[in-house]
Symmetry: C3
Subunit: 402 residues, 3 copies
């Protein structure tokens, strides 16, 4: 799916009376096509299906439907235009788009002309990136892949990184020979990731629109990871705050080094913990214990993390990858399709609710990011990071990036 | 509710303008009437009520409504036929059916003729079975009943067994002198149950339609057990995989012998763990700990089961029934109606979601059962079981029936 | 918001074609305006917004909409009147009321005249109470408030007390200098609260309508407490059954004295545990462990309460307030807005579901309260309490008030 293929990618209505919806996809980054489109078609009761999109492509579409008119057989009735907006994960594209239209048809049956407006928020290619850069993928015997993230000095997570991660996992999911993935830091320092790049959150240097794209990109990746068909292991060497913690919580297993620390420390920077990140921690260690940690923004050290169930094991750094690999091998011993289906069944309600929350968060979060107090806190944090040359001390989570 | 009574059982509309819906119930098995029916009536805005059905009867109805026409006072308008399907637990029959129609009326108000098609999936009689067979009921002083299941050699669960269990519990619920029930294995071997009969899952020997009935029958029983007004105790002697584990998880208390083992080991046979069985285990021991066990299909031995909260107590086999009885007596000391209502309130959302999932699972599950790889795994399991003369070793869950 | 201001408080439609809905609020108690109103307006597709209501006012509105007529452009169609009822928390008033009407418009589009009937169940003033009485508020340096409840002999909770508590917390929430609140008993005896006043539950001395108001008042307070922007600490000296336990469970932290005991012991009086009180206990200690306690109505003593996570700390009575203050100070160290937003995000789904349950419970609960067996149990409890001069022994929860 590159620029040249984009013309063949499309949404097509399968009703006999429907018109083809032309979709123009244009690449939004060197990583591959990430496109915005807007299309419409008259669909007299037909169902849409997304065709010719790569199986593993991840994209989120905001749709709205206008019922332009509704004329009865013997009389006439004009419904005022109404619209309904929903974001879909089109990972299971045909199914989901059908669902939406089925629901809509309940309200707009008849001969009404239904005009669909679809707005694609994000799509990630499954092909190899033009420049894989700091996110590298290595495969080991037995179908286990290792994704190494090495963006010096602290793996700060910007829009580009979240999209590279999404592309890496999507690529592995599309490869039938792969059954497990281990995510590991390739940094010189003992840091899994320092969390989101503050420049994505610092209002004077970004926009609410950029923030919305950033927010969807990171959470789209996290949802993908959480319901991945792959066995997923986070191998955590060192500090793992905020966004790094979210990646870990979305994985099936978490292995940490003794020097490690983990937490969603957003509150310390004056930013709310993303709702579903907090709920995810509650699923791992119970809602009350999670709240106690989340509301103070406290980082949990390795020993406590093991005791409260936040990590599965604590092992020395030199054994980290070996234990992660052994964990993956052990987890892969049973029939893969049944295991993946069971995992999906157990997590699907949570992930569906998370995706339904996508359109809500950006405006809510931006209210905090654009407030003078949050801007001041972020400026303080950036000054401290700058004076340390971008370093980050694991035990001082107040200075963490998010 | 036998064949003779079936003519009196019916769905009747309580609107003055409504027509009586005649329902013909015909017995589907020697255990009592299990009927399929299809009926319709013009219901101009009226509400349905299910009448003359035994209080404890358990049945699931798939309904669909057709709005055949809708004519206004001064004009005319014809809505195209639409349908909506919902499965109901008619345990609280009047309430639920009203609800469905109330919702429907929001969409089909007016003078439209609403045609109801109802399709009864399963109904269990509350009377004594013509042949109680291997599921026997004994009552003890203090209103405690013991349901013994003894279908040699391993209590393999087929459609017949799930319906007998449903009938047994329904009968006890309908008897006001009964306040608690203990479910126990009467097998010669140390086996609570080896789980579902593989013949119900082996695609070449069943059909997708039979599987759907089987699936609804087992889960209808499990939901009934989970929200029963009775105090429920599973007394588990020996191996308790899959379906037997589901019965235990739906009970209020689980008492196990030291030789016992418990788990939902479906993944080992290449079949997904039924969604709500897995969620149920998560409610007992936390979602993360449950996932770790479920995704590997691991059986948990007695000591660990006690430690992680999967069972309430581990006691020698010779004390099993005495401890189960004492547990039931203790739990029955408080006012029964308040206790049952509290239990129902705490579990109703879960059970309602579970029932709403009934129509979804069979087609999803059948995709796995009819796949060549699952068929091959089941054939291997059946060969191993056959070579052992139907025996089952608790410590070898890979050979378990489901 | 007093009697004089009530005339300015109103619901106003923001559509150009809408009529102003006049709302007459009249004070219902010396504590401030608690009003019932009924209003209507023709709203051709407009959205309502609640204006000029104090930010912190808590009120619950039961609304119903009548579609009186629906006339099309070229034809005519008359929809029969239908109604839909929903309770709203108007804390985020504008948002919620819009939502309701948006949903309604889906069903009643067109030129129909939509008649809104709104019935305000409870509104609490944010100003100082005319007579604060036995609920006193004291503020400490650092923005920490202490709410002391001292209604001798056992802080029995009647409608008046729940409304005073709601008013006290609402007042603190409206004061930007306050960041935390500690709730403590000022009784002579070691009792946090003996729970609801039996006279509110004893059917011969109350009415179903009074009970409905009582039920909404207490749960409206509890929901407010649970999602309060304030850090909340329950400092529990002595017995803490039922309603007192509910207050504790809604708080962020629970500190208890060694003589303390806690539980939702409703079942012992023949009354179901309120659904969301029970679910709340499940969130703190897990659903299975909570059910075991709830279904027997057992009171948990301090040591066990600490062990199972029902309380955060057990400290001698002379240190109780100091530890509660230290807990509040510690919890307040991080940015308040981010902490409050995170807390709200984590609890909002639970609180929203709880509020949606408000209209359901009163008729359900009244069925129990008006049954001869519950009346007899309550009469026995009142006789025992009367013979002890209103005393309550913590270890005898069967004699507890609710």
């Amino acid at each position: 799916m590159n620029d040249g293929e984009a013309g063949q990618t499309g949404i097509k209505a399968d009703s006999a009376h429907s018109q083809l919806i032309a979709i123009s996809l244009s690449p939004a980054s060197p990583l591959g096509p990430r496109a915005f489109f807007s299309s419409s078609a008259a669909l007299p009761g037909g169902a849409l299906s997304l065709r010719r999109l790569p199986q593993a492509a991840s994209f989120y579409v905001r749709t709205s439907l206008d019922v332009a008119s509704c004329e009865g057989h013997k009389g006439h009735k004009r419904l005022p235009a109404w619209r309904r907006t929903q974001w879909l994960s089109a990972r299971m594209a045909e199914h989901n788009v059908r669902t939406v239209l089925d629901q809509d048809r309940q309200s707009c049956t008849g001969d009404s002309a239904v005009v669909l407006h679809a707005h694609l928020i994000m799509a990630a290619s499954v092909g190899p990136a033009a420049d894989p850069g700091y996110v590298s993928v290595e495969t080991r015997p037995g179908g286990i892949a290792i994704v190494t993230v090495a963006k010096e000095p602290v793996n700060s997570m910007d829009l580009d990184m979240w999209m590279r991660l999404d592309q890496a996992i999507a690529g592995l999911e599309a490869d039938p020979s792969i059954t497990a993935v281990i995510i590991v830091s390739g940094l010189k320092k003992d840091v899994f990731s320092a969390g989101n790049d503050l420049m994505e959150l610092y209002a004077p240097k970004t926009t609410s629109e950029r923030y919305a794209r950033f927010w969807v990109a990171q959470n789209a990746f996290l949802v993908r990871l959480h319901r991945s068909r792959l066995v997923t292991v986070a191998a955590i060497r060192g500090a793992c705050p905020a966004g790094g913690c979210a990646i870990s919580l979305c994985s099936d297993f978490r292995i940490m080094t003794p020097e490690g620390s983990m937490g969603l420390n957003e509150v310390q920077l004056g930013i709310p913990v993303p709702k579903f990140w907090g709920l995810l921690m509650g699923r791992v260690m119970g809602p009350k214990a999670a709240e106690d940690i989340l509301l103070t923004g406290r980082m949990v050290l390795a020993d406590e993390a093991k005791r409260v169930g936040l990590v599965d094991a604590v092992v020395p750094a030199e054994q980290l990858l070996a234990v992660a690999l052994a964990t993956a091998v052990q987890a892969c011993k049973q029939p893969a399709a049944a295991r993946a289906a069971t995992k999906l069944l157990l997590r699907e309600d949570f992930c569906t609710a998370w995706e339904a929350y996508f359109p809500t968060e950006p405006s809510f979060g931006w209210r905090f990011l654009s407030s003078p107090s949050t801007i001041a806190v972020l400026e303080g944090a950036m000054r401290r990071l700058s004076s340390k040359g971008g370093q980050k001390k694991p035990q001082q989570p107040a200075a963490s990036k998010l």
